[in-house]
Amino acid sequence: MREKKSKGLHALLFLFYAGLLCWPAAASAQSHPKDAEWPTYAADLAGTRYRPLDQINASNFSDLEIAWRIKTDNFGDRPEYKLEGTPLMVNGVLYATAGSRRAVIALDPATGELLWIHGEHEGKRGGAAPRQLSGRGLAYWSDGKEERILYVTPGFRLICLDAKTGARIPSFGNNGEVDLKLNDDQDIFPDLVTGEIGIQSAPVVAKDTVIIGAAFREGMTPKSMRNNKGYVRGFDVRTGRRLWIFHTIPKKGEFGYDTWEKGSAEYTGNTGVWTQITVDEQLGLVYLPVESPTSDFYGGHRPGNNLFGETLVCVDLKTGERKWHFQLVHHPLWDMDISSAPILADITVDGKPVKAVAQPSKQGFLYVFDRLTGKPIWPIPERPVEVGNVAGEWYSPTQPIPTKPLAYSRNGVSIDDLIDFTPALRDRAKEIASKYHLGPVYTPPTVSKPDGPLGTLTMGTASGGTNWPGGSYDPETHNVYVYACNSCIEPIGLVPAPKEISDLNYIAGTAGKEVEILKGPGENAGADSPKPPKNRQGSGYVSLNIDGLPLVKPPYGTITAINLDKGEFVWQIAHGETPDVVRNNEALKGLNIPPTGQETYNIGTLVTKTLVIAGEGHVTTTADHPRGAMLRAYDKMTGKEVGAVYMPAPQTGSPMTYLVNGKQYIVVAVSGGPYSGEYIAYTLPSAGE
């Protein structure tokens, strides 16, 4: 049945005519100042997540009530529990991606009423996608007359919709779609249905150009050193025609090809731009945050610095030609993909105006450059780093380390970082840590050995520092506000890859565990049952927490305000209620523990005229609230908490805000654990209530 359905396009259009009829009236009732709308994923193309609204402020934040809510369960054939979207609100309509089919929904922003829905049934191609579920969002475009919505399906097709009806625009591409697996300067292998490439981020539209990157499966244990490449392309928003392509792995004869020794640029893949892209429309420049090459933790098959892996690249908006680049990590070995939108900031340094770009990172550095030239605002010297001894690996002897601002999150693990609530807990932490190789940022992975080290204990990688939600920027104070996980430690061990598993010399793993390829979603979908268990030699699993407590000291998660004029911290706070497992822990009874914040990695911030707003990533149950999480507001000048409102589940998509019919709303995506995805809109009680 599903197969039959998948063969045809099913555009589901539920036109709520009453809603449509009201639309122009609602639209004309307001002047729609841009400050009151949220027209792109990050509020603007500069990646600021800033709106100068102030109806919701310190005096009333805790009075917020739910204006409307919408569960995403029915926008797909099963519920999703990781809703990561940030909606748009433009011209009196709210748009979002939702549900396990990544449907597009249009809602009345004041009431949540469904205006239309569009879904694409992709069958096996959707099921085999490396990045599934509803994604992070979509893009809006208008020439003043026509309005369009653009998004990318899990199966990697760019779809262009009429924003008024949700119907495909027939004149765009092939009846409203561009197959992104085609016309990519490479043949996607093994075929168009199962070929590994996709994207979960929201497209960007700047000056009539749609810009799309690419994403792949997690790259810890790839089957091969060969993979599809994550090029970036620009398309004409009117026709869907490809305008340009940027080769994130240079082709022969292109700049950077020689940073892939032994011809490794030919077969190495990944190196996509899976997170949000930022654009300066005035300068006509695009900022591409590029991820790691194949594979995440072993680079012996790609000797050299590997441009443009983990590099911030600036390209021309019209042509895609490279203007400048800065590689944050040479010869990547730590999965330190540049994971969030670069932030554009017009700042004043030493009395001089500077057009800057600031890049948050998993490694907790905020890299700040002149966005015209790529020159660092403050020195980023090459510093010697440990050179490892994994057979066949190629090591960069130095890495660029910013002198300013200082790292805003822990980015290495030392004995001093270990938990010290009590001597007994510290002893247990030391015992666990003794099984690993420790060191500062860029301490290389080790081969895992049963008697130790099992691997290198790292921060960063998949979940430390700042991941895809990125930061916010306040053009009034020139502060970047950025959340970081300060305790998301992760071991990186390598084990020899059996030939039947992978053609790499090493893949991620732990000594003592059976080596098996880590299969991605969609693989082996038709198989009935797994292979019978093989004999093993004991388990290599070592729990990296102690009675539920993180191995390292608090704060576990922070928000930091960093002033870009000076490159200095303005404030730093622990974000989130102290977890139940800490507050209720028997081992900590009688101790006075300051707020710890929470160990979680996907928290996005919103900055308004006066507030920095962010939800919690953990569920807690306290005397003040039942099982749930809080959406918290901080004074943006001081970091002092000024209000909080209850959410039934953790924040999993970054909050946004807008003003409609004279009322300010904050919409946030929540989900996780047993709670399926839901967008919740908060607003203040009406007058007289």
Binding site: E218, A462, P491, A508, G509, K513, D547, G548, P550, D580
Partner: protein
Amino acid sequence: MNVKMRNAAAILVLAAMACPLGLLRAQAPAVESRSVWDGVYTEDQAKRGEPIYRKECAACHGDMLTGGESAPPLTGGAFLANWNGLTMGDLFDRIRKTMPQSVPGRLTRQQDADILAFVLRVNKFPVGKTELYRQSEMLREIRFEATKPAPKK
């Protein structure tokens, strides 16, 4: 059961239904006598679950269960917080209904239970003498508690 008793029973049932499920659990833990701290799975079962986990789950949830960019961790603070105060039935049903992501429900109940036993072992919950149930209804009688309860007096 006479009419009065039946009415009383009906009122109790209605009261229970009217009470939000989570609240009921939070307020009446005495009804559920076991938790994950009482040895609700066996070593053999966890061993059976490990290769299934590695084949079916690890690509997204990570080799060491620490999660990835596309899936949450199944160990540590965020995992414990997500399920603390709920039941093994809730966790089991979540796996049953939504995992593996590509074809939810493809694994058998026994395989799901074995994976869950493995996850419990990695999280250092104590091993017991009986295997983890594979029936949701029975698993709902086992509370998931992040922290070890104080010894009973």
